[in-house]
């Protein structure tokens, strides 16, 4: 047995494979199954602002429009009317009581008051940490990007002041410079960055000329952006790095750790391959470590990060792209 121990949000976990927030892990059966298959931790399905508001207000017809759904986000349709915030908190408490591995809550709010209030309520359920799922469905042409980022930094500061459990931030890659925002959030005290989240984008059916919604999954290999950012951030921030998006196999996990991630979150691969995929991924990591004679993740974490390649961080720079273009014929042939 290899030592796969690592940390997420500063919490020691048995191995780097974390089940990301999704509808799959709302049922106790599936939570237990994920634990039995060897998940390092589980992030419970996000609590959404819309659920909270629904409990406060009557159903808002805007909710019937296409909200953010993704493999990790199928919560809005079709039966949001009986999945209120109070029930969510009760379920979190129940899940925590039934698991021995760390359970992380996820919160996806809009209004600052909701972020703070519910972060505090979530912390009272006994969960081990809170993941703040930062996603703004931007539709306002006049909203300045600085305002959005500053508000997110303020939310983190406020929550850190109000809860004692660790706080992770799950971000979208869609910022002009995610690294700069991450640096600022790191200073605000974030314990872990989960890079990156992904959301439903509506499509159009050209026969009926109307929007359609279809459950979106990540594809195997979609982790490349996460890989690059793990490599750029490793040893440059205090928080640990948890990579997500398109991580399907043990080999993928190894790549992310080589880049500098401490852990990964998986969702789509569990939908496609079943929850037993967790143990397969673990075995793949252990087999590879055996082959390479590594005893712990620390033996190779960040080996291919920008800092470790300081004499030749070529791969993280524009030159790599230019070189690829200039040598395209050599690499891909001229057909």
């Amino acid at each position: 047995m290899k030592n796969l121990k690592t940390k997420f949000m500063g919490i020691e976990i048995d191995n780097p494979i974390i089940v990301g927030a999704s509808n799959m892990v709302t049922k106790l059966d599936n939570l237990k199954k994920a634990e039995e298959q060897g998940a390092g931790a589980i992030v419970y399905k996000s609590l959404f602002e819309e659920q909270i508001q629904l409990e406060r207000l009557q159903f808002d017809e805007k909710l019937t429009e296409f909200n953010d759904i993704h493999a990790e986000m199928l919560t809005v349709h079709p039966h949001l009317d009986y999945t209120g915030a109070e029930e969510h908190l009760l379920n979190l408490r129940k899940a925590k009581e039934n698991l021995s591995i760390p359970l992380i809550a996820s919160l996806n709010a809009v209004n600052i008051g909701t972020w703070i209030d519910y972060a505090k309520l979530i912390a009272e359920t006994g969960v081990d940490g809170i993941e703040l799922n930062f996603y703004q469905n931007i539709w306002d042409l006049d909203r300045d990007s600085n305002d959005i980022e500053n508000e997110q930094i303020m939310i983190v500061r406020e929550i850190k002041e109000n809860v004692s459990i660790p706080v992770a931030v799950k971000l979208s890659p869609d910022y002009t410079n995610p690294l700069n925002l991450i640096k600022k959030l790191d200073k605000a005290g974030v314990d872990s960055f989960v890079l990156f989240n992904s959301f439903f984008q509506p499509d159009i059916d050209i026969v009926y000329e109307k929007h359609i919604k279809k459950y979106n999954f990540s594809n195997h290999g979609d982790y490349k952006k996460s890989l690059r950012f793990a490599g750029l951030l490793y040893q440059n921030i205090n928080a640990d790095i948890c990579s997500s998006h398109g991580i399907f196999t043990g080999s993928d996990v190894i790549k992310l750790i080589l880049s500098g991630a401490s852990s990964v979150q998986v969702v789509s691969t569990l939908y496609v391959n079943g929850i037993s995929q967790i143990s397969k991924m673990r075995s793949e990591i252990e087999d590879w470590m055996e082959l390479k004679n590594y005893h712990s993740l620390d033996d190779f974490r960040g080996k291919l990060s920008k800092n470790k390649l300081n004499k030749n961080p070529f791969v993280y720079k524009r030159a790599q792209y230019v070189d690829l273009i200039l040598n395209a014929e050599d690499i891909f042939g001229n057909n």
């Binding site: 509808n23 199928l74 079709p78 039966h79 279809k214 459950y215 999954f217 391959n273 079943g274």
Partner: protein, 62 residues
């Protein structure tokens, strides 16, 4: 085309997505199954959505 038949082929991973999308038609017991006696015509949009969203494409209808 009215949906009169819904079935699940081999290979369900038990992810629970179909039940989440249309609990009136799909139920989980390790794997997903179609509830007997349901009037599928009432849930056509949801059945199509579940079939199109199924990660292993085992939900079929006619």
């Amino acid at each position: 085309m009215a949906i009169t038949k819904v079935w699940i082929e081999d290979g369900c991973t038990g992810c629970g997505l179909s039940e989440a999308i249309c609990p009136e038609v799909f139920k989980m017991d390790g794997e997903a199954f179609v509830i007997d006696g349901v009037d599928f015509s009432k849930y056509e949009r949801e059945i199509v959505e579940a079939a199109e969203s199924c990660p292993v494409e085992v939900i079929k209808y006619s």
